[in-house]
Symmetry: C2
Subunit: 155 residues, 2 copies
């Protein structure tokens, strides 16, 4: 088990932003993230899940201090592309499990989600790569989250 | 520029599945992915973007051949947790840019999205890590996507 997940990482310098009901057509993701790049805002996680009725939601995370600069940019893009609205969240943290053995182990992400659920911790955003599963949770839950994940994966 | 993005990867063995309007409370992500793990279905990308009205959408990708086994599992979980419905997609591909220099370069994801947009390629799902930005697109667009990304990043 130690070989599958080799560590738990966390980041408290996290804010999230979302755009709702963006048109699901080429050029929309570029419009959003080019505007942020032009404003020199560093984006960490980007997540876009599933289209419904020709629309999709896009959420991303940035450093806490960049929120006040990012929001006007996002609101302008929201109007330009005809999205239905925006939302943001502060007082957040990112918690991740990291490991090279995760790819062919179906239960690993499920075990992370179970460990957080057993602590009553709500998972606000999820993003993955082959070697990492990252969840956004409330900042005041990070200690319990990290401890629960260390216990779940014998770390 | 070569040092920021070091490569383009792609995967044609991809199907996507989504659950809509899952209750946004602890234990829901576990319910979905434990059911898939118990059915021995390997999950690649998992994305969950933004909550609205106490609900969220969860999308994930699996190997094409696992779709027929995954759908009954997902439909059952959908009913159990009170989600509004499910959807799936076939004939898909995952295309990714990979690089260790991406983290502090705001424009890199934007440049990937721009290269795909310039080809008229629609981005269906997005997931990121510090060293990778992955997009799900139609399978028949993968060649143009990979070529466009090689050109955009001088690879
Ligand atoms: C929603 C957004 O990702 C859109 N599909 C695009 O390609 O830009
Ligand atoms: C939507 C789902 O991720 C839920 N918030 C959970 O914690 O399981």
């Amino acid at each position: 088990n130690n070989r599958v997940v080799s560590g738990v990482a966390h980041d408290l310098n996290v804010a999230k932003v979302a755009l709702f009901d963006v048109p699901d057509r080429p050029g929309i993701a570029r419009a959003v993230f080019k505007a942020l790049a032009d404003a020199n805002i560093n984006v960490d996680m980007i997540v876009q899940a599933a289209m419904r009725d020709g629309r999709n939601d896009i959420a991303f995370t940035i450093a806490k201090d960049d929120l006040s600069r990012a929001l006007p940019v996002v609101e302008r893009v929201c109007r330009e592309i005809g999205a239905s609205g925006t939302a943001y969240g502060e007082d957040l943290a990112k918690v991740s499990i990291v490991g090279s053995g995760m790819m062919s182990n179906p239960g690993v992400a499920a075990a992370m989600f179970a460990a957080l659920a057993d602590e009553g911790i709500n998972i606000q955003m999820i993003s993955t790569s082959e070697i990492k599963v990252s969840c956004i949770i409330a900042a005041d839950e990070i200690e319990r989250a990290v401890n629960a994940l260390h216990a779940a994966f014998n770390l």
